[in-house]
Amino acid sequence: MQIDFPHRQSAHCENGVVSNLMRFHGYDFSEPMVFGIGSGIFFSYIPFIKMGGIPVTSYRTLPGAIFRRFAKRIDMKVESRSYSSEHKAMSELDSKIAEGVPVGMLTSVYYLTYLPDAYRFHFNAHNIVVYGREGDNYLVSDPVMETTTTIAAADLVRARFAKGVAEPKGRMYYPVQFPKEINRKDAIWRGIKRAGFDMTEIPIFILGTKGMKYMAGRLQRWPERLGDRKAIQYLGNVVRMQEEIGTGGAGFRFVYAAFLDEASSIVGNTELYDLSKELTASGDRLRDFAYYAGRACKSRKTDVLSFAELADILRECATREDKIFRRLHQLAKDNI
């Protein structure tokens, strides 16, 4: 059984899966729109939780949150479940495909054989859509790929039941009930309100724009505290989280700017367009940060001055973003 699935490439897997699934069901939401309505943008730097010995840095919300919020805001019901039995997880997938329903699921990147080897780390929250089966292969629409692809059943089982941090446990999901009418304006404003709140109002110093400032302060002292080797490793990790696959550039800032751009014409508010321009400018500074950090990583030297300069760029971005998201939060509150 094969379903005609409208695959389109996207920057980030979760947005892409939602956007593609919605398009299949006849609703047109672009990737930035999904990201914006789902309030995907965020920042957090958590020095006391380490992965592979490196503090966790993230430019986005928790995996799964975008879809959850998006569904809530357009009033759509999603069936989502995980499994303890591999056999059951696969047979239910087969029966869903046979019914003609494409299914989104969580997988580990490491076992997705069609990706370039360089990307295959143990990252357990990658989203893909499976929309068909041909013998022992499943037909996969992975939003980060340009085209659809296939994966062997044995690999898919491994990917769905990967172990470690945040195990996917075969989780799969598909929309079951759609709203009669979608109030896009309302959904957009609610999405913006939550994003504005998350970025500026959470009273915890490691989250949102406060977190960016905090990381800048820590980053400045990495060379003296950790030594050259570790400092470069930490810095490299921050750049990876910001620029690597799935962020659309500058740690999701450009995707969000694209959302504000699109949203401004839908809700008819030109200020959103201006804010989109400002966020682009701030994102460009983050790109500068990545560029200089990349140079430091390449030369493998950490003269303290360059780390201080990098920290300054981050602080500048934090200040800019703080201003942008405060304004967005206020605008959203005025318009709901």
Binding site: A11, K163, G164, Q233, E243, F254, A257, C297
Partner: protein, 125 residues
């Protein structure tokens, strides 16, 4: 790095006033940090290999590094706490493993159980 066959999507304003998606093979800083991450991994694998050959560690260490895992991930595969996995990284405890546990490790590493106990293969690589 990406074998030149993988294009990603970015959002950019370009010269127009509005955003649109563009395909790109990535830019330099990204490739630098990715390369750096892999270099660290290669170093760890080489170290692990030397230890296994010297008899200071069990083959589990080598295969764990080779497959980018850590004791926590392996713990999920074999159904024991990570502490037990750490013990299995030593030759003494590795030698006492049951056939069943060896099979679980082999499944996690995507190799055959015979390959797991065969140190000569690690030497040849």
């Amino acid at each position: 790095m990406l074998q030149g066959k993988f294009r990603k999507l970015y959002y950019a304003t370009g010269d127009g006033a509005h955003y649109k998606g563009v395909g790109s093979v990535g830019w330099e800083p990204e490739n630098v940090v990715l390369e750096q991450a892999w270099e660290d991994i290669r170093e760890r694998v080489a170290e692990a290999r030397a230890k296994v050959i010297a008899g200071e560690a069990s083959p589990v260490l080598y295969h764990m590094e080779r497959t980018l895992m850590n004791p926590d991930i392996l713990a999920g595969h074999i159904g024991w706490p990570a502490l037990v996995v750490r013990l299995h990284l030593r030759p003494f405890f590795f030698g006492k493993l049951s056939k069943k546990t060896l099979e679980k490790y082999a499944y996690a590493f995507q190799i055959k159980p015979e390959e797991l106990i065969d140190i000569t293969k690690i030497k040849d690589q």
